[in-house]
Amino acid sequence: MSELQITGLHKSFGATQVLEGLELSVPAGSLTAILGASGSGKTTLLRVLAGLLRADRGTIEIGGRIVDGRGEHVPAERRHVGYVPQEGALFPHLTVKANITFGLARRERRGGARELLETVGLTDLAGRYPHQLSGGQQQRVALARALAVRPEIVLLDEPFASLDAGLRANVREDVQAILRKTRTTTLLVTHDQDEALSTADQIAVLRDGQIAQCATPHDLYAKPIDQKMARFIGDANLVAGVMEDGFVRTWLGRLPAIWRGNADDLRDQRPATVLIRPEQIKMYPANGDGSHLTSEGGALTARVVGIGYHGHDSLLNIQIDDAPDAGPPLIVRSLGHAHPPIGSKVRVSVKDTVLVWPA
């Protein structure tokens, strides 16, 4: 399996610029998720990588071989890139086995399928036609078909989007396991943050035709490069504050801060925007005395104004009493199935350090 290296990739359709100097490096054997809003050019990127579209500029290198750029354009059929489009796109006129062996040479077709059928756990279904399979089974066949020709990398376009929510997690784990087992370099495109965070080794966020940030799931959530990214990955409260000697002073209190702007831009009394993740806000019953709350954040009283119930946890909207500016309510995560009802009073405080950008 090979690594993928993309440099300065440009692609436009008429006057519409889709990819504008995209840079990305995918280590061999890893699973990288391309995360982007719909219409951000994810599918275009995959199709350029597969050789189905021609890049306007830039180079694509797979396993050290240039397949696009510098006067080179290797067509799809000679690129050895496995492509699994949305919905799998199985050949409806062929059986599962014939689908999987489609890309093999004639003499390999007879025996070649068995091992792969075992790998994806579909040995019993070899003689079935695609319309006789469930969505998850179809997805596995599509993957096996792409892997059969031993591609250098595999591209998955929204592989789980068409599956029922109940099925999705299972299929995702299956696919992940198969890819790990075969140590396949994989690029997976999705618009689903949760999917990217839970599946990928590395997430590349596609924005304005470029990779805005490429990091591990943990780093992406913990250290987004800007406010927009913070909002895009997970839920975020963004509040105003003023810098003060390594801390930021907000109406939620004085909080230990990490400055994410230029170092020479940092000075006291510098206005700033503060990121507070919902799970950083801790909630207590209002009738407690709160005397143990001696953190820098202090304790504030608030009112619950909205509840988004998710079973395993809830996202509450709370309005802080005596808030200096009537900003939007804060989002707070409350674990467990019990949560205070709407209108009830709570006390809150902020824990841990916060990220700060120049306002």
């Binding site: 440009h10 436009s12 610029q17 504008e20 100097g21 199709r47 597969a50 050789g51 189905l52 021609r54 306007d56 354009h73 067509p75 799809a76 059929e77 000679r78 690129r79 050895h80 890139v81 496995g82 492509y83 699994v84 489009p85 949305q86 919905e87 796109a89 199985l90 050949f91 409806p92 006129h93 489609f102 890309g103 695609p130 319309h131 006789q132 399979l133 969505g135 179809q138 078909r145 792409a146 059969a148 020709v149 068409s162 304005d208």
Partner: protein, 536 residues
């Protein structure tokens, strides 16, 4: 953000033009484009030949021949008949389609087959069936009766298909918005079927403009009958040519008119292609009336022509039945029809591939222009070919089997294109792309993926052309190789000699040969809407 973007834009436009052009050109499907252009050239040939013919005669002669009272009479006859029959077909076809698709009419599956079968009976056979029984069926009233009964399925078929495919959700929403049943039917149902009704009417009008045999039997004079007489009987080429020009112009007006009317308004389903069957209406006390109506329609359109042919066979006794010539004629009919079907389907393939798989405006326009053949009546095509091969090709191909097959293929090309295109539009292009990523070159992709997927569409295209060629008379009479007879020309020879007993077996043979592809087509188009090439 905007600054770097405009910088890239500048950098882009600063690139040498040649580089951009080369990058784009590499993706162009040259082979398909060349094949399509080749097909387009073949399709234009009849028109070119017609113009050659006209210039041979000279502009002065042509205009003198056009601007005279005869033309006015023919124009009045042709337009009068076209308007009346088209209107009647629209009413009968739409009504029948609504009752079969939207009500609980008893036996509607059987009716659905029976009302389409008349399509397999050539117009000249229907005409023969009626005219040989009663002298009342003559002239204008005869032509209206016969042609309406012969061609109303051309409206029924598309309207029934569109009612079957129409999104019942739109009707339901209209009802919840307070529109009554009648208002819903008028504003939504008919609105959804409008394109289908107009499309059917276009086909009816074009058939009427091109029909020869039926009108000849009924003694009703139109452009086509007059052109045929001038060319084949009086050998008056300039007159035939002048009248052909007017006929082509008339057909072009019909085609253009339909395009203009359909062009307005937008029709689509909202939501996915979930096949929800709309609730059928109960007919209640009206059931016997509607039942009687369908019985009458089928009796007149199917019973009379078939019954009449059987009557003449019995009446004339067995002595006339000539088994060998019947078999011989059937063989040639099937042979020519088969080759025409194969050729037309083959011609339609690159055109459809280019238009559906390479979505460029220019390609789609190119595809669209091939439909202009619709406006070339078979008689005009045959006439132009016959004249050109005799006069300019030194007799090469003149009255040869290949020329007849080519003429058929050109005449019925639009039918083949419709069949191939519909199935190609349903085969997801993602499948082709996956096949390429699996290392298959384009020819292999076509062979292993695209063709198997559109095989039913290719079969439908073949059947449509075969069916049309088998029931064709006019062009066949002109182009048929000397000494050979097809079912229709042999029927015609006997009919013209008033040998009804000998003509009748040939009429039944035509119906029998045409019935097989009709059945295949019926099954195909019935399955088309609910057919999903890709499982969900």
């Amino acid at each position: 953000m905007s600054e770097p973007a405009s910088a890239t834009l500048q950098a882009r436009s600063a690139r040498p033009f040649g580089l951009v052009a080369r990058a784009r050109a590499a993706q162009r499907p040259w082979l398909l484009l060349a094949l399509t252009l080749g097909v387009a050239v073949v399709l234009v040939l009849p028109l070119v030949f017609l113009l050659v013919q006209a210039s041979d005669a000279g502009m002065a002669t042509i205009s003198k021949l056009i601007f005279r009272p005869l033309t006015a009479t023919l124009l009045w006859n042709t337009v009068k008949l076209t308007v009346v029959v088209t209107a009647l077909c629209a009413i009968i076809g739409t009504t029948a389609a609504w009752f079969i698709e939207r009500t609980k009419l008893p036996g509607r599956r059987v009716w659905a087959v029976l009302v389409v079968v008349p399509l397999a009976i050539p117009d000249f056979v229907v005409s023969f069936g009626w005219a040989s029984l009663s002298t009342w069926v003559q002239g204008f009233r005869g032509a209206v009766l016969v042609m309406t009964l012969a061609v109303y399925p051309l409206v029924y078929l598309p309207v029934a298909a569109s009612l079957r495919n129409a999104d019942p959700g739109q009707e339901e929403v209209a009802r919840t918005l307070g529109a009554g049943r009648l208002a819903t039917f008028w504003r939504i149902t008919l609105g959804q079927a409008r394109v289908a009704v107009l499309g059917g009417c276009l086909l009816v009008a074009l058939v009427l403009l091109a029909e020869y045999g039926a009108f000849e039997i009924l003694g009703y004079q139109t452009f086509t009958t007059e052109i045929f007489t001038e060319f084949n009987v009086s050998f008056n080429v300039p007159t035939a040519c002048a009248l052909s020009l007017v006929l082509v112009l008339l057909s072009l007006i019909v085609v253009g008119g339909e395009r203009a009317v359909v062009g307005r308004g937008h029709f689509s389903r909202t939501g996915p292609l979930a096949q929800r069957i709309p609730e059928r209406r109960r007919l209640g006390a009206w059931t016997p009336v509607v039942f009687a109506g369908f019985s009458l329609l089928v009796g007149l359109a199917l019973g009379v022509p078939v019954g009449s042919a059987v009557y003449w066979i019995i009446e004339s006794g067995r002595g006339y039945l000539t088994g060998v010539s019947l078999f011989n004629a059937a063989w040639h009919t099937a042979l020519y029809g088969g080759f025409a079907g194969a050729l037309a389907t083959l011609m339609a393939l690159p055109v459809a591939l280019l238009a559906v798989r390479h979505r460029r405006r220019a390609y789609q326009l190119l595809e669209r222009t091939t439909y202009f053949v619709l406006a070339m009546p078979g008689l005009v095509i045959a006439l132009a070919f016959s004249y050109f091969t005799e006069r300019y090709a030194g007799g090469l191909l003149y009255q040869s089997a290949p020329l007849l097959v080519i003429a058929y293929a050109i005449m019925f090309f639009p039918l083949a294109l419709v069949g191939v295109r519909a199935s190609l539009a349903q085969a997801p292009p993602a499948l082709d792309e996956v096949a390429r990523c699996l290392g298959q070159r384009r020819p292999a992709v076509l062979w292993r993926v695209t063709l198997p997927l559109i095989a039913p569409g290719l079969a439908a295209a073949f059947c449509l052309v075969f069916l049309s060629a088998v029931t064709e008379l006019t062009a066949t009479l002109i182009l048929i190789p000397t000494g050979v007879q097809t079912l229709s020309t042999q029927f015609w020879a006997y009919e013209q000699n008033l040998a009804y007993g000998q003509a009748a077996p040939f009429a039944l043979a035509i119906i029998a040969v045409a019935a097989i592809p009709s059945y295949v087509l019926g099954r195909y188009f019935d399955r088309l809407p609910s057919r999903t090439l890709q499982a969900p």
